[in-house]
Symmetry: C2
Subunit: 212 residues, 2 copies
């Protein structure tokens, strides 16, 4: 009957200092573990360890493993789509698109865990995302594809399919994060950082593709 012990499950804005610290420690640890092992392969205990907490203690902050995963995913999509959101319809088409490519590649390099977690989720059918894809992703892509279509129809870029252009940017940039092992293996261990070459390659690719 007592209404005590209300666990601070997902308080959005954590109240106490300890809450804030542990909350973010958990999310960060979960990012590590989920991105390395996938949702099923990750164990609550491992996440707790990585966050420096005991399993029950972690469950004190989040109601379930799935809740952690979910909060991670939803928090991610915004960050992930920011570069596309910033594509400026008033800007110079080709530089605008090249900037988008560059920013996306940069995110791949600096946030590979996020990229992998997302890839994993989509690979598995996006079941955890619910209708987020249709409500958040699709409208934005529709909007920006329309921008690209306008650029194309006014002859400012070469003839391209707007949606597939966007798909190609996604796939090419995220490839370096998601398939990191493969890339590094093929390039040999000597060639440490593939990103500078990748950036040059993608710049050339899209310049040649888009120049009228």
């Amino acid at each position: 009957m007592n209404q005590s012990k209300t666990p601070p499950h997902i308080p959005t804005q954590a109240r106490t200092r300890i809450q804030r610290r542990n909350h973010s420690a958990i999310l960060n640890a979960a990012l590590d573990v989920f991105s390395a092992k996938g949702f099923r392969g990750a164990t609550v205990d491992e996440i707790a360890q990585a966050a420096g907490l005991s399993k029950p203690n972690l469950l004190y902050y989040f109601p379930s493993k799935e809740a952690i995963h979910l909060q991670l995913l939803s928090g991610l999509l915004d960050v992930w789509l920011a570069p596309l959101r910033d594509l400026d319809p008033e800007g110079d088409p080709i530089p605008e698109i090249l900037t988008y490519v560059r920013r996306k590649l940069q995110m791949s390099r600096e946030m590979p865990r996020e990229s992998r977690i997302f890839a994993n989720e989509i690979l598995q059918g996006g079941t955890h995302l619910g209708d987020t894809l249709t409500t958040a992703l699709k409208p934005l892509v529709d909007e920006k594809a329309a921008v690209v279509a306008r650029w194309r129809d006014t002859g400012r870029i070469a003839d391209v399919h707007p949606y597939h252009l966007i798909f190609s940017i996604w796939s090419l940039t995220q490839h370096y994060a998601d398939f990191d092992v493969q890339v590094r293996t093929v390039l040999g261990d000597e060639g440490a950082d593939p990103y500078p070459e990748a950036e040059r390659y993608l710049e050339t690719l899209f310049t040649r593709m888009l120049t009228p």
Copy 2:
């Protein structure tokens, strides 16, 4: 002490009719389940059900879940690399590369399960593949990258980084299998088959990229 009941674990060439049937039924079922749920997410029981067998019966044909996964993976790599293997150094460079792209895209469409299982494996760090990547994949890529480099150095194709060209072909073609859900969601449910458009797009992309 009796040496009886030697289970026909991985007999490579199954002997009896039943063995052949069940063996391939298991592998096919495993392809379904592993590609849909990943290695950790897949359960032996589910694979057995999908193959029309009981779990112990499945374990009669394969010593472990991992063994099934492994046999699947190793059998896959050969098929997967065939198009690259067929890249002909004596052929016409641009048509040769376009053919490679087309075949790779076709495989994406016709074997999405295989593509996803592979993606999943690489995403997780390729731990199950052991050194297969360095012994089987790298040498082939090295060889074909050299071919591309020769074409480039003799001016038969435009200036490109051979390895990143190959990476871009992989990522662009497999994107349609691995991120199928995303692609379909963004394109809307009406536009059923994205592949014809994709093929046209990729043809244009690489033609513009490679024409000297």
